[in-house]
């Protein structure tokens, strides 16, 4: 029987902490990228089956084995897993960067009306954003963009999957008013 490298690819992806790209696998196994992709498709189909608790998930930067979403609460309960959530300020800043990248700090501050230095620093530390260059204006300010980790964190395959809002969706809600100002 012809050797298919399925087991090799499984072991490599399984041992990885970050998504593994088809290009990396092709290089490591010295087989063509199309061959790698064919095998990945087979593995992927295979673990989709109901008898498996994890599957091969495709990210923008490659493939990673992760547990299926349906077992989320079971796993969380048993393993006492914590869920990390970003703060409102972080989410808003990320939203702005995601939609307007490349964008400078001053431009972000203009939109949010508050200083962004600390938030940008923290988002960089967590590899959710990165400096992607300099703007060709006075002072050559740094411009920021989102990273692969950003896509992974929000379960987005690529930036085109970011939500778009229509005019109707932008109505000020009238029922979920929470007055945080004068408390």
């Amino acid at each position: 029987m012809k050797k298919t490298f399925q087991a090799e690819i499984e072991s490599l992806i399984f041992s990885a902490e970050e998504p593994v790209s088809a290009a990396d696998l092709s290089r490591l196994l010295e087989i063509s990228k199309s061959e790698v992709k064919k095998i990945i498709k087979e593995i992927s189909d295979y673990y989709q089956g109901d008898s498996h608790g994890f599957y091969l998930k495709e990210y923008s930067s490659g493939f990673l084995f992760v547990t299926k979403a349906e077992f989320f609460s079971l796993i969380r309960d048993m393993h006492n897993k914590k869920v990390t959530k970003l703060t409102q300020a972080a989410l808003e800043t990320l939203a702005i960067i995601a939609y307007k990248q490349p964008i400078t700090r001053a431009e972000i501050e203009e939109i949010r009306g508050v200083k962004a230095e600390k938030t940008l620093l923290t988002l960089s530390k967590y590899s959710l954003i990165e400096e992607i260059g300099r703007k060709d204006t006075l002072g050559n300010p740094i411009v920021y963009g989102t990273t692969d980790d950003f896509l992974q964190h929000f379960d987005l395959q690529d930036l085109t999957k970011l939500p778009e809002l229509s005019f109707e969706e932008l109505e000020i809600p009238s029922n979920d008013i929470e007055n945080t100002l004068f408390r």
Binding site: T67, A69, I111, R112, V114, F154, P173, L181
Partner: protein, 243 residues
């Protein structure tokens, strides 16, 4: 009633305006903004005692609001015949609103994205043989991890309180109620035994949960109010020293 002031995750002027728009259930337009100008100014008035630097950021938007208000009060000059264009402020607020909404959607995405767990055992255990690894950990990650643990501990504590069958093991970690008077006595006692003074960090170093840290902080404020100690902080987030 005291109004909310946050130290760092401070609500900027646009957020204040946005919350006022929500609270008053109005549209984002010049006409409606003029109706809440007073509320904004009233809020700003209370705020300005706290931080002049922040107040100045508020001032810019206040000026624009006043301009809008005045324009709304003045009789319209219909002979102009020109379409009124939205002010810069209305535009900014709409954009702010847009990203607020987007960030709400992102929050749902984040929730969704957190449902997939990768394998969690170390590479060592998976391979079963020694492998030379180039470890990449930074000190801030350690700090964050510990704070995360502390945070989840205090959440757990809340749950455990309702649980009748709380195991005695918690005693070991001193999870009993911490009283402010006990803590103030403890702080004074500790202070009396050192000559160089103490920092807030010294006092919370062995804290078992966030509640204890909060109590420590409140105790310090209490002692300062009673003029029993002097506290000093050079800038936000720098250490607080006690004397």
């Amino acid at each position: 009633m005291p109004y909310e002031i946050k130290l760092d995750s401070f609500q900027g002027p646009l957020e204040v305006l946005y919350q006022l728009v929500k609270k008053n259930r109005i549209e984002i337009s010049e006409i409606s903004l003029s109706s809440i100008a007073e509320q904004y100014l009233a809020y700003m008035d209370k705020l300005k005692d706290f931080n002049l630097d922040l107040a100045s950021e508020f001032m810019v938007i206040a000026a624009e609001l006043i301009e809008i208000k005045i324009r709304a009060l003045l009789p319209k000059n219909h002979e102009d015949g020109e379409e009124e264009t939205d002010s810069n402020l209305v535009e900014r607020l709409r954009e702010y609103h847009y990203f607020k909404k987007i960030s709400e959607i992102l929050q749902d995405f984040e929730e969704e994205g957190s449902k997939y767990y990768p394998r969690a055992v170390d590479i060592y255990d998976i391979i079963g043989e020694d492998i030379e690894v180039n470890l990449d950990i930074e000190i801030f990650e350690l700090q964050e991890a510990f704070q995360g643990v502390l945070a989840s501990l205090s959440e757990k504590e809340e749950v455990e309180v309702e649980d009748e069958d709380v195991k005695g093991d918690w005693d070991q970690l001193n999870f009993e109620e911490i009283k402010i008077e006990d803590k103030t006595t403890f702080i004074l006692d500790k202070l009396s035994r050192v000559s160089s003074g103490l920092t807030f960090r010294d006092l919370i170093l062995n804290s078992h949960n966030r509640m204890e840290i909060v109590v420590t902080f409140l105790s310090i404020l209490e002692l300062a109010k009673m003029a029993k100690i002097k506290i000093k902080q050079d800038k936000i987030f720098s250490n607080i020293s006690l004397n």
